[in-house]
């Protein structure tokens, strides 16, 4: 298939350029200032409003299969990811059975390939068997089966000695340990951020310190072991500060945050809105500003969604019984563009956080927009306005506090494996 892209803004690591692209057999053949002849072209993209990014990767997704297919399955998750403009996603291990052995990893790889949906699925395996925090998994075998990272997301390894050993052992395979950093004894039975809102609603609070203490421990273990460590979903001001200092010190860590932590505050929960019940919980204005600062100065490497689908029957009930989590694949682009509109990031840095960095952290080759490179692209319309209605959601679940909200920006095409995929409206 020959694909021609006319007069679009191209976002590369060296800047933004208005260029013409010619792609043949999946390879970027030509990038030029002059229009490329349309002869023999199978697909033409010609819309000066669009922007071409290297393909986006969401490195924190819960696909729920195997085990919880009523919330989401691999296919519906891929559809949501494609609709959100992702060319790849990485999925967490808290399925049933847990992805703690190569058979499950293999199953996820095969199943996601069979769907034919052009979104690569990279499994993240558990750190410990059954997410129990006791015995480390067969990391070598899992890597061979396709695992790109290890994480007990949701169930932080409580025993520091076991986590230390997991970090040390992971170095043999040069694969990252992804920490859900939380001191569980301190956050026990907590529902939302501890503070004014938790007192007003009479819900047990989760102090910020539960995350901060967890992150401090994980940083120190990263320092001790010199392993490749990534901190998931950073949500507090002090967390950003700790990571900033650790990076300055030269400790080998990276971290991510999610749109809910740079856009929403605990106030979102008022009225017992279970769609805003997430872990870590939504914090305060002060934290939101600090997260933005961390994104701006590079302390925070990656924006991930922590896409966590839950069935409406689980969310539509007593707040204290509702599970934590919100979906996020389809809102990633408009919500991240909000950072550009707020002047926090420019498009180039946004591309780093949605494409290059997550690929690098997971040991995957980042897509590059360069002649001779494979074409793995996300093409967006940054100005397109739409409303997040239930019927636009491709996920099986619609648990998000952004439901019904106005969005600005949307993926229009992805290009991958030599084909163009038009994203339905």
């Amino acid at each position: 298939m020959k694909i021609k892209i006319n007069n679009l803004t191209i976002v590369t690591s060296s800047g933004l350029f208005r260029k013409n692209l010619f792609i043949d057999k999946g390879i970027i053949k030509k990038i030029s200032d002059k229009p490329i002849s349309s002869r023999g072209v199978d697909f033409l993209i010609d819309n000066e409003n669009l922007m071409v990014f290297p393909g986006f990767l969401d490195m924190h997704v819960h696909l729920r299969e195997p085990g919880f297919e009523y919330k989401e399955d691999i296919e519906s998750g891929q559809r949501a990811a494609l609709s959100g403009g992702f060319t790849a996603i990485a999925c967490m291990a808290n399925t049933n059975p847990v992805n703690d052995n190569s058979a499950v990893t293999h199953y996820i790889k095969c199943k996601s390939n069979e769907t034919g949906i052009p979104v690569d699925v990279h499994p993240i395996a558990a750190i410990t068997v059954g997410l129990k925090g006791e015995k480390i998994v067969e990391m070598g075998d899992l890597k061979k089966a396709g695992a790109v990272g290890f994480s007990d997301d949701g169930y932080p390894v409580e025993n520091s000695d076991i986590l230390r050993k997991a970090m040390e052992y992971s170095k043999c395979f040069n694969i990252p340990i992804i920490c859900h950093s939380e001191e569980k004894k301190l956050s026990k039975e907590g529902q939302i951020n501890e503070g004014e809102v938790s007192l007003k609603l009479g819900l047990k609070g989760i102090p910020k310190e539960a995350e901060i203490i967890g992150i401090y421990r994980d940083i120190m273990l990263a320092k001790l072991t010199k392993a490749k460590v990534h901190i998931a979903h950073v949500s507090t001001k002090d967390s950003v500060e700790l990571i900033r200092r650790a990076k300055k010190e030269g400790i080998n860590i990276s971290c991510e945050t999610c749109p809910q932590y740079f856009l929403l505050t605990e106030e979102e929960v008022l009225g017992y809105n279970t769609f805003a019940k997430v872990n870590p919980p939504l914090r305060t204005k002060e934290d939101v500003m600090a997260i933005r600062e961390g994104l701006k100065d590079g302390t925070i490497d990656v924006i991930a969604s922590d896409h966590a689908p839950h069935h409406i029957d689980e969310k539509d009930g007593e707040f204290e019984l509702a599970p934590f989590g919100m979906i996020g694949l389809q809102t990633m682009i408009p919500l991240s563009l909000e950072l550009v509109r707020l002047g926090v990031l420019d498009f180039q840095v946004l591309a780093e956080k949605l494409s290059r960095k997550p690929h690098q952290i997971l040991g995957l080759k980042p897509p590059v927009i360069k002649e001779g490179e494979e074409a793995c692209l996300t093409i967006i319309d940054p100005h397109y306005e739409w409303v997040l209605e239930k019927d636009r959601i491709r996920s099986k679940s619609y648990n998000t506090p952004f439901l019904g909200k106005k969005m600005k920006g949307k993926a229009v095409y992805t290009i991958k494996g030599g084909k163009v995929f038009e994203i339905e409206d």
């Binding site: 007192l199 609603l201 009479g202 009225g271 007593e318 707040f319 204290e320």
Partner: protein
């Protein structure tokens, strides 16, 4: 004389969103019903033909009886359902339960639940009026209203008072409802107790915080002791009951820190010897049983306002 306020709420879930005027209107309406309770024949036809359901997911003697009494005096039909909370997670969902009950044409659902927000959740999903009879550690609006009515009677005012609420503030829905209502009426609200049970962030909601009983009670017009909710709080909030009682119990000595004409309140049930001593309960300044009487009048007023849509006939 009843002020002209249009009561437009379908439900009574919390006092926090109500205006000062609405709270006063509720109390004035309750006051007008007190007279009915003094009659020989305690029956008025006001709510004849209305059906009222109490749905209690937590044990209660006082509150449920009080609601039932109020409904019966107003000639409504009442049905009482008690559900054990343990069946919640395995059995029918709360939503299905209330929808089924509503399908039997219930006009009012009075709900008590161990989870904060349960009453609000139900109110948003049924057409019937919902009254919150206590939800987790969130609010207990009719309790605070009856407390205010009691204070009004003894202090002849609803404003400018110093009120100390003592004990397990963190887990108390009574403390929250009282805080919101008392602050709207421009009273000073002091939360007094061990720091583990009195989070400092309550300052942001308008409370003054005291970890010392003598300082907390100094010069107050009202002392409200709260029940230590042993079933709700778990371990570790204070070392022993012995030490708790030593530092935070309202007793014959500590009550002297307050104004001489202070009144002593407690929402019940009481842990005698823990948060309040037996001799203080016998003190003539103790109005605990008067609170209970006021409770019926307050609940009559709430039922009446929710079902009549605020049209007050004198």
């Amino acid at each position: 004389m009843v002020n002209k306020v249009n009561w437009l709420h379908k439900d009574l879930i919390s006092l926090e969103p109500l205006s000062r005027e609405e709270i006063i209107f509720l109390l004035e309406t309750a006051k007008s019903f007190e007279e009915v309770l003094e009659r020989d024949v305690k029956k008025v036809p006001t709510l004849r033909g209305k059906s009222i359901l109490t749905l209690f997911y937590e044990p209660s003697t006082r509150t449920r009886t009080s609601f039932e009494m109020a409904a019966k005096i107003l000639s409504a039909d009442t049905i009482n359902i008690s559900v054990s909370t343990s069946s919640v997670s395995k059995g029918e969902t709360l939503l299905d339960t209330v929808r089924n009950l509503e399908a039997m044409s219930v006009d009012v659902i009075i709900i008590r639940h161990s989870f904060s927000g349960a009453s609000e959740f139900v109110s948003k999903r049924v057409k019937a009026s919902v009254i919150n009879a206590g939800d987790g550690r969130h609010e207990h609006p009719t309790q605070a209203l009856l407390d205010l009515l009691t204070i009004w009677e003894y202090k002849k005012t609803l404003t400018g008072l110093k009120v100390a609420i003592v004990g397990d503030i963190l887990h108390s829905r009574v403390a929250r409802s009282n805080l919101f209502a008392l602050r709207k009426l421009d009273n000073e609200v002091r939360f007094v107790g061990p720091a583990t049970l009195v989070p400092e962030d309550f300052k942001k909601l308008g409370a003054k915080i005291f970890y010392n009983l003598e300082e907390g009670l100094y010069d107050v017009d009202v002392v409200m002791a709260l029940r230590i909710q042993k079933e709700r709080i778990g371990d570790g909030f204070y070392p022993t009951e012995r030490e708790y009682a030593k530092y935070f119990s309202i007793n014959r000595e500590t009550i002297n820190f307050a104004k001489r004409d202070t009144i002593i309140m407690h929402p019940g049930p009481v842990n005698r010897g823990l948060e309040i001593s037996s001799d203080v309960l016998e003190d003539k300044r103790c109005v605990v049983l008067n609170q209970v009487t006021k409770g019926v009048a307050v609940r009559m007023a709430v039922l009446y306002l929710l079902l009549s849509g605020g049209k007050v006939e004198n």
